[in-house]
């Protein structure tokens, strides 16, 4: 990466060229992706060497964690307090809450263990909305085709069919849980018509939203429901360190670390739902991330050790417009709504360089090319390109104050006025496209282990469509919760322990991999949390 153009110079160039030129030159897209997409860089992808998906291509940073030894040993769980449940749900984001609610309503006694606190998750950061084919001109078939196409046809069709078919019922369920949605202009407040927007890459208006904080509104409703549900015991600040097995290899719960008491506890359960989310805090390829502190790929590490297969773990989504300056806000998301409304991207020479409405992977690669080729804008230690919000305000006066509330607020927190000065943005690590392979009931293939949400793979192929993440977590949270409650009625696990770790260590040794590297990460190394003790640092 070259030094880039100093911020003041770039500002001058941008002012001199305003308004920005109408269109940038067309780009050779395949070549652009090949040369500048972070996942295509040399050394970025390595094959997995052990486990159920040995040979699968995997992002190197993730593979290092997947090739690690456990944080706990058998001796650590002797004398550890034992908690009992029918269903253990690991993860207190959207998918975990939905799974816990569904399982509890099916009659299961549920333990819901979260790493941070209930609702501390990426669900609350979802701004755009949730997709569901509820429009008169829309259909499940169109939603199905749009999702497959956006994922470059790498998704599992049975999973996508399950996802889109659940869509309308999911919206009804959310409304029953008390979630609010935007209503169409002039609609009745009670019994009105839902407002629908068209998400990027869709053939119909299908995006349902609540202002520009849909995920937060969803989490508000789910959180309340979980706290009020009599069948759910909530364990805040209890990250999972390892899954447990019984003597027949069935998943039998998890070893949790009680951060409050500083000790390990065992949760024994007939069935377990993993809803641990993504991996943004691995900072793949050094990228900042839009993800919250808990997104450290713990679920992938634990399930893989137990024998679950993975898929598309070489595919991550880099959102084009993360904040590049100030450093304290680095990685936070500037919503796609800005570009969708007409905001342009401008390099240090004041030039437009990409069609801003291209897919996320293309726009991100184009920004990275500008930076790599010296046309980026240097500000402090970081580099980026301009998101021309003043230009947008000039073209559509008043839009920053009314439509893009969150964006205006972000600028204020960063210390400037979005109507006067452009944002400095660069791609930010946003979403894990792949994950644990599941069937349409959320079953991982390991007896007793179900998964839901971002931790799973197969729904989004190699690129996720906007609005499908919120739909996924409800649709598959419900499926996994229901299946887990039914599965937990089978026999109670006996002789629970960590027997799978001996085989795992033998596999590590057979491949000449060290036993010194430990995972899961639990918290990013810079996180100043209680857990970042000797164990966290060893990782």
């Amino acid at each position: 990466m070259s030094g880039g153009i100093p911020h003041a110079e770039a500002l001058a160039a941008w002012r001199a060229r305003a308004p920005a030129p109408p269109q940038a030159l067309p780009l050779p897209v395949p070549d652009l992706l090949e040369r500048f997409h972070p996942d295509r860089q040399p050394g970025a992808i390595v094959p997995l060497r052990i486990g159920a998906s040995a040979g699968l291509s995997c992002r190197a940073e993730l593979a290092a964690l997947l090739h690690s030894d456990s944080l706990v040993e058998d001796l650590d769980i002797a004398g550890a307090p034992l908690l009992e449940a029918d269903v253990l749900v690991i993860g207190g984001g959207g998918a975990g809450c939905v799974a816990a609610l569904t399982a509890a309503r099916a009659g299961a006694r549920v333990l819901l263990a979260t790493k941070l606190r209930l609702g501390d998750s990426n669900t609350v950061m979802a701004e755009g909305g949730i997709q569901a084919a509820v429009g008169a001109e829309d259909s499940l078939q169109r939603h199905f085709e749009d999702t497959l196409r956006a994922g470059h046809f790498a998704a599992d069709k049975a999973l996508v069919a399950a996802l889109v078919s659940d869509g309308p019922a999911v919206i009804r369920w959310l409304i029953q849980e008390g979630m609010s949605f935007d209503l169409a202009e002039g609609s009745e407040r009670m019994g009105g018509t839902l407002l629908r927007k068209k998400p990027g890459g869709a053939t119909a208006a299908r995006l349902l939203s609540y202002r520009d904080f849909t995920g937060l509104e969803m989490m508000r409703a789910l959180r309340e429901a979980v706290l009020l549900a009599p069948g759910i015991t909530l364990l805040d600040r209890h990250p999972a360190l390892e899954l447990l097995t019984d003597d027949r290899g069935r998943c039998a719960g998890a070893a949790l670390h009680d951060l409050g008491q500083g000790r390990t506890v065992l949760a024994r359960a007939g069935a377990t739902v993993l809803a641990t989310g993504g991996a943004g805090r691995l900072h793949i390829a050094g990228f900042p991330t839009s993800n919250h502190y808990g997104a450290t790929a713990d679920g992938l590490v634990l399930a893989y050790r137990l024998g679950a297969a993975l898929r598309e773990v070489d595919s991550f989504q880099y959102h084009p417009t993360g904040i590049a300056w100030p450093p304290s806000m680095e990685g936070q998301l500037v919503s796609e709504a800005a570009r969708a409304s007409g905001a342009t991207l401008v390099n240090g020479l004041g030039e437009r360089f990409v069609d801003e409405l291209e897919t996320r992977d293309v726009v991100a690669a184009a920004i990275l090319r500008e930076i790599a080729e010296g046309r980026g804008i240097a500000h402090g230690s970081g580099q980026g390109v301009f998101l021309d919000t003043p230009g947008l305000e000039r073209a559509k006066p008043g839009i920053l104050g009314k439509g893009l509330v969150t964006l205006t607020h972000l600028a204020r927190r960063a210390g400037f006025d979005a109507a006067v000065e452009p944002f400095l943005v660069r791609p930010t690590l946003h979403y894990q496209n792949g994950g644990i392979a599941i069937d349409p009931e959320g079953w991982s293939g390991v007896p007793g282990l179900f998964c839901a949400g971002e931790v799973t793979g197969g729904l989004h192929g190699r690129n996720r469509m906007m609005g499908n993440a919120l739909l996924e977590l409800v649709a598959f949270g419900r499926r996994a919760g229901r299946a887990a409650a039914a599965d937990a009625r089978a026999e109670r696990p006996r002789n629970i322990g960590l027997t799978h770790l001996a085989d795992w260590r033998r596999a590590l040794i057979a491949q000449g991999l060290p036993l010194t590297r430990k995972a899961p990460l639990v918290f990013p190394p810079y996180g100043n949390f209680d857990m970042a003790t000797e164990r966290g640092r060893a990782a």
Binding site: L75, G79, A80, P81, R505, R506
Partner: protein, 411 residues
């Protein structure tokens, strides 16, 4: 040197392949001189490899001495204890070796009914064995055998209850008769009153497989296989914290160190060696001081432990002895047949206390209670189940008391 598990002998149910691999020789020699069988077994020093280590020729001679007809041979393949997986290997991979040994035994004791008594949960073994028996029934050797015994020989595959207790010899007899596998008081021994009240020889799968080989190779050859005066070879079911777990056939008398560090590839991840649960796992633990102990019946007995079935569950640093003990005692508690109150209630009580300690809810008096039970329980049942549970408890409590105390503090 491998005898039973030699790849050439692992031919599955194919009788022709077994004969081609040198099978049938032992039976031919036995038929040539039936009176020489028991002396040969005695000379070879074969002992009961199901765990007891009782001299095999005594059992055979006792049954042979009883008047016929109607005597039985039961080949005991009930194998269900944690960490033991040798019989299922023999039954599914080299069934003819076992059957030939059983036929030699039938000839030696004059029994016309041979029962292959197997654990129904070993579906592969049952399937292979049924196929193997069908092939024997069409073989002329069986007719010659019937003529030599003077009765028409029957070869039966009987699936037991699948319960651990069904491996005890009197329970096996009850199970073959179609009843629940309740052990009975001894005497009378099965040799006196076994299946249908008739004299019955009950031997473990591995013992009978060795018997056939002794007849084929001769007692001197067999004795020469062992180390330090112990005869023959032994199947060791190696598991736990070693790099290469699995079934290892080694000379009887192989030192523990050699089994763990040479054949087992050493401790997993280079961890320190802590202990070995042997046999059932119902015996006194072997610890680092026993690493040079020869693994044979007499040497381990001299050290206060026992060889048992040859199962060696290795425990390294990082694995909890308390959790292992709790697991095994829970197994015994779940598998007590319930006839003898001290066993039924005692194993359950021990298991309850261990689980309480392990689950972080132990109480101050718990260790004292465990010690009391470990002294009270032995000898209080018809069979050895409760003794095994008490032995492993007492041994782990004595040797690794700090782990119990640590768990009590942590809870």
């Amino acid at each position: 040197m491998k005898v039973l598990t030699d790849e050439r002998r692992c031919v599955g149910a194919d009788l022709a392949a077994w004969m081609a691999a040198g099978g049938g020789e032992g039976l031919e020699r036995a038929l040539a001189e039936p009176a020489g069988i028991i002396p040969a077994i005695e000379a070879a020093g074969l002992r009961g490899l199901g765990g007891a280590g009782f001299p095999t020729h005594h059992k055979w001679a006792a049954v042979a001495a009883r008047p016929g007809p109607g005597k039985w041979v039961v080949c005991n393949g009930n194998e269900d204890e944690p960490g033991t997986f040798k019989d299922r290997f023999l039954l599914s991979r080299t069934p003819h070796q076992v059957i030939e040994g059983a036929l030699v035994a039938a000839l030696a004791v004059g029994a016309a009914t041979v029962v292959l008594y197997v654990n129904p949960r070993e579906e592969a073994a049952v399937r292979v064995l049924r196929e193997a028996v069908m092939q024997w029934e069409a073989h002329p050797l069986l007719a010659r055998l019937s003529a030599a015994i003077g009765e028409s020989l029957r070869l039966l595959v009987v699936t037991g209850s699948g319960l651990y207790i069904g491996g005890e010899e009197t329970a096996a007899v009850a199970s073959v008769m179609g009843g629940f596998p309740f052990p009975t008081l001894k005497p009378p021994f099965p040799a006196e009153r076994g299946v249908e009240g008739a004299p019955t020889l009950v031997n473990n799968v591995e013992t009978l497989a060795h018997a056939g080989q002794i007849l084929r190779g001769g007692p001197e050859w067999y004795r020469g296989l062992g180390l330090g005066g112990a005869p023959g070879t032994k199947l060791f079911s190696l598991s736990g914290d070693v790099l290469r777990p699995g079934l290892h056939e080694l000379p009887m008398g192989t030192p523990l160190r050699s089994l763990v560090f040479e054949h087992g590839g050493g401790m997993l991840g280079g961890k320190a060696f802590k202990a070995v649960f042997t046999g059932g796992p119902s015996n006194t633990l072997l610890t680092a001081g026993d690493l040079d102990a020869p693994l044979d019946f007499d040497s381990l007995r001299a050290r206060g432990s026992r060889l048992g079935t040859g199962a060696m569950i290795v425990v390294g640093e990082g694995t909890s002895i308390l959790r292992k003990t709790a697991e095994y005692v829970a197994f015994f508690a779940a598998n007590s047949c319930g006839q003898c109150p001290p066993c039924k209630i005692g194993t359950h009580q021990v298991s309850r206390i261990l689980e309480r300690i392990e689950g972080g809810a132990g109480r101050p008096g718990d260790l004292q209670a465990l010690e009391n039970l470990a002294e009270l329980l032995p000898g209080s049942g018809r069979c050895g189940l409760v003794d095994g549970a008490a032995t492993v408890l007492a041994s782990s409590l004595r040797t690794f008391r700090a782990e119990y105390e640590g768990a009590l503090r942590r809870g």
